[in-house]
Every structure is written in C-alpha cells, then in structure tokens.
Amino acid sequence: MARHVVAAVDELPPGTRKFLEIDGRPIAVFNIKGEYFGLMNRCPHQGAALCEGPLIGLAQSKEPGEIEYTKLGEVIRCPWHGWEFDIRTGQSYCDPRRFRVKAYSAHVEPGASVVKGPYVAETVTVKLESDYVVVEL
C-alpha cells in the first residue's frame, strides 16, 4: 500500500475538502472537525463524482411525526440522484430495492435503525503524518 501526501494540514482546514487523482483514480479527502476521511470520488450507483455533493446529516424516524437528525456533516449526498453515503464507512442508506427486501425479512431490528443499502462507496484511509495529510492507496 503506497502512501501519498495530499496536503499540508493547514491547506485542508476543518469543513473543507480536496479533490485529487492518485494513480488515475479520483479521490476526495475531507476534514470534518479535525478528522480526516477519504472516499473514491465515484458514486457506486451511476458513477457521478460523488463528493461534489453536499455534506448533510442522517434523517431517521421511529414513526411518522418523529424525526431524528444525527451524524451532522458526516453523510455525503450524491450530486445526481441524492443517494446518501456515510463518509466514515462508505455505507449507502435507503436504497429502495433493498428496502423492499427488508420488509419481508424475519429478523427484528431496533426501531430507529435506518435501512442500509447494498451499495458501499469505496473509502480510502487518510492519516496525518508530521503535519501532512496522507492517503493510503
């Protein structure tokens, strides 16, 4: 696994992101409140440049009328069709096809859990090394 310096730490302050290409692969690196995350900048749905979308939170509901909004700034919303991905894990939420399958499944889940989709965006490891943001690929 090669390590690639992508930025000096002060070039990537909290709330910013940086797009780059490493070995021909489009990568996006985020600084979210001092934590760094990397994602392959390609949506697993139809291939949009995933990380051009806004960072939002995760809306969940135990029942109609009750809305919980968590993971603020940790969910990326695809600029095309708006599928949502957790930038920590790349996990997609609420693919409707998966949703239907779930409805028939027998096991019980805690009421608050949001159905996770089958698609997972590729994440890349991002580290800090002596004041540089480093991506492992």
């Binding site: 992508v6 290409e21 070995d23 489009p26 390609r42 291939g47 096809r97 399958v101």
Partner: protein
C-alpha cells in the same frame, strides 16, 4: 510518492459509452432573465417588466414543490462561466454530448410561455423561445434539434406557431406539458394535433406544467416525492383522455411521445381501458378499436426515469408489451434524476434492441437520416 492534484473537477460524465446514442429529453435553460428579450416585441418586454406573467397556478415563479437539488439539477452541471445548469452550450457539449457520443439531442425547454393566462403573451413567449432555440442551440450544434413550444391553452395560436415552423429542420416535435387546464384529449387542444399531424411532427407530452389543478388526482400532496410519482398519474389521465376523446381516431397519423413519466404503467392502463371499453363502448362510439391498439400504434415513450424493478425480467415484460421499437433513450440532462447512458439498460438485451433503444427508434421517429 505519486501525487497529482486535481483542483478542478468540472468533470465530464465519469463513465462514457462509445456507442452512439440519442438523448430525447434535454433541458436548455436561459442564462439570464432577459435572454429572450431580443426575440420579443417591445410591447411584451414592457409587459413583462410592468406586469410579469399571470399563470393558471400560483407560485409558478418558485415551483410548487422544492426540488431535490438546486434548480432540480445535477450539482455538477453549473457552467464554469456562471448561470444556471443547462444554460451553456459549450459546457453541455463537454459534459453531455461529447463524452456520451450523443448523435441526436432533442431539446425540451421548460418554464416557457406555456400555462400563462394571457394567451397573447403566452404565444409571444413561446415563439421567442423557439427563435432562441435556433439561435442559441440548434444552429450552433447540428446534433441538437428543438421542440416547438406552443401556447398550449390557445389551440389556434398554437397551431399557427406549428405551421410557421413546419418544414424547418431545426424542429423535430411539438412540445406540450402534462399538466394543463383540461385533460389533453379535449377539443381545445385539437388544433394542435391537427397542425402537428399535417406537419408530420410527433407531439411530445413532457411531465410538468402549471395547469392550475392539484397535481395529484386527490389534491395537493405534502412532499416532492409525491409530486415525482404524480407525474405518471397525470400522464395516465392525459393518455386516457387522448384515447377516449377520440384524438387518435380523428388523427390517425398523429404520434405522441410520453416524456419523463415512466412507462411501467402503460400495460396496466391499457388493460384497464380495454376492459372498461368493452363494457362501456356505447358511451364512446367514436373509439372504434380497443384503447390498447391506439396506444401501441401511436405512442412512444422516453426512458428517463427508467423503471428499476428488482427482477430485470419484470422490466423486459413491460418493454415487450410496449415494444422495443417504442422506447426513446433520454437522460433528462441537466436535471438531478439524470440517467447515465451506460448504466440504465440491464444485461440480456439483444444487440438489435439495444441499438433501437439508444438510437434507432429516435432517428426513425424524428426523421433523422441514418
């Protein structure tokens, strides 16, 4: 270490397909509020400045439901030179036409002069939009063809606009919207069908519009998601009306294109119509054949938004009923529910059907030389 910074990400479509395609639903936008003024008589420029437009439906300036993305468009589709998504030809070429090898792109402008209460203003705006389409788009890129936008609520002026544009190779269809003051089969719209049939132009019915009626059959819903699915309900009413009012019977050479409202519902609508028609035929004796026959002979369907069932066989069943020769591929660029050409059609389609789906049907319908 191997580092290559990619500061600028105004990327082209990330996956490209080499196969030539048609894109039968592209939405060109105006870069500025006054971009149509050069095509409008002074009288109407002043009218717009003083009175604005008076629509059948309130809140037309800001659409009745908030959209999923800004301007209902892809977030990566803002032109680098500024302006709203879809307002730059060079960026459209770079982002859509070139990388996807689009050979034929059919323009369907929205937010035009349709659905405006002042019929003279409506006609003037529609005519201006048509001039603008030639000037800004079709004369500058031969791949692009325009739809004739007409003041739909005034059949006579709409027909006059069609006759004026007939034979002009910049235009390949007449554009109506699905939400109108009355269901589309009714007499007030017949002059449009007559003129289109005479001109040999298909009539496209694009989802959307500002007819003033609630946007679902049961009233105004709470969510944009309901509006999205409401488009197919609306097109079903429009199609039922076209069949039952006898439009297809009266204009047997008329070709209709249902744009952006899906097609999965087509068989079930036709089955229901056929069944009811067998029992209630005497109410509509001018409908001489089973409704499904008119639908299968005179209706085409754009693909976006493609139905996406769990089993691809279900999709193929629907298409087999409609006919592989009836589907017209569309991306809906630059709107947010854009379909990526290389990702919409599941595996297992014959080469001939694939070619028809992506290009052949559109060329044939719109009369574009092979």
């Amino acid at each position: 270490m191997n580092i290559q910074f990619r500061e600028n990400t105004e990327a082209a479509s990330p996956l490209t397909t080499k196969t030539a395609i048609a894109d039968c639903d592209i939405h060109p936008a105006r870069a500025t509020r006054t971009e149509l003024y050069p095509y409008l008589a002074k009288r109407w420029q002043h009218h717009l400045e003083v009175y604005g437009v008076h629509a059948y439906q309130g809140m037309m300036e800001g659409p009745p439901y908030p959209k999923a993305q800004p301007n209902a468009s892809r977030r990566d589709a803002y032109p680098p030179e500024g302006g709203p998504q879809g307002s730059s030809l060079s960026f459209m070429q770079k982002q859509l036409l070139d990388p996807n090898n689009v050979q034929l792109g059919v323009l369907n402008p929205l937010n035009t002069g349709q659905g405006i209460r002042n019929h003279e203003l409506s006609a003037a705006l529609c005519s201006a939009i048509n001039d603008w389409q030639i000037d800004k788009w079709t004369s500058r890129d031969k791949r692009l063809k325009a739809s004739i936008v007409v003041g739909n609520e005034d059949g006579l002026s709409a027909a006059a606009e069609i006759r004026e544009r007939a034979g002009d190779k910049n235009f390949v269809q007449v554009l109506l919207l699905s939400r109108n003051v009355e269901p589309l089969g009714q007499r007030r719209y017949w002059p449009i069908y007559q003129a289109a049939e005479e001109a040999g132009l298909p009539v496209g019915v694009h989802a959307f519009g500002f007819g003033g009626n609630p946007i679902t059959p049961s009233g105004w819903p709470s969510y944009y998601l309901e509006e999205m699915v409401g488009h197919s309900q609306c097109q079903q009413s429009a199609l039922a009306s076209l069949v039952l009012e006898g439009v297809f019977e009266r204009f047997p050479k008329l070709k209709m294109v249902m744009i952006e409202a899906g097609f999965g519902w087509a068989p079930s609508l036709a089955w229901r119509l056929d069944k009811a028609w067998q029992r209630l035929r005497s109410e509509v004796p001018h409908v001489k054949r089973p409704p499904s026959e008119y639908i299968r002979e005179q209706v085409w369907w754009t693909t976006q938004p493609m139905e996406d069932p769990e089993r691809r066989e279900d999709l193929f069943d629907v298409i087999n009923w409609i006919g592989w020769d009836r589907l017209l591929f569309a991306t809906d660029y630059p709107h947010w529910d854009y379909d990526e050409p290389s990702r919409v059609l599941p595996a297992g389609v014959s080469e001939a059907n694939r070619e028809a789906f992506y290009l052949g049907n559109a060329k044939k319908l719109y009369g574009i030389a092979a």
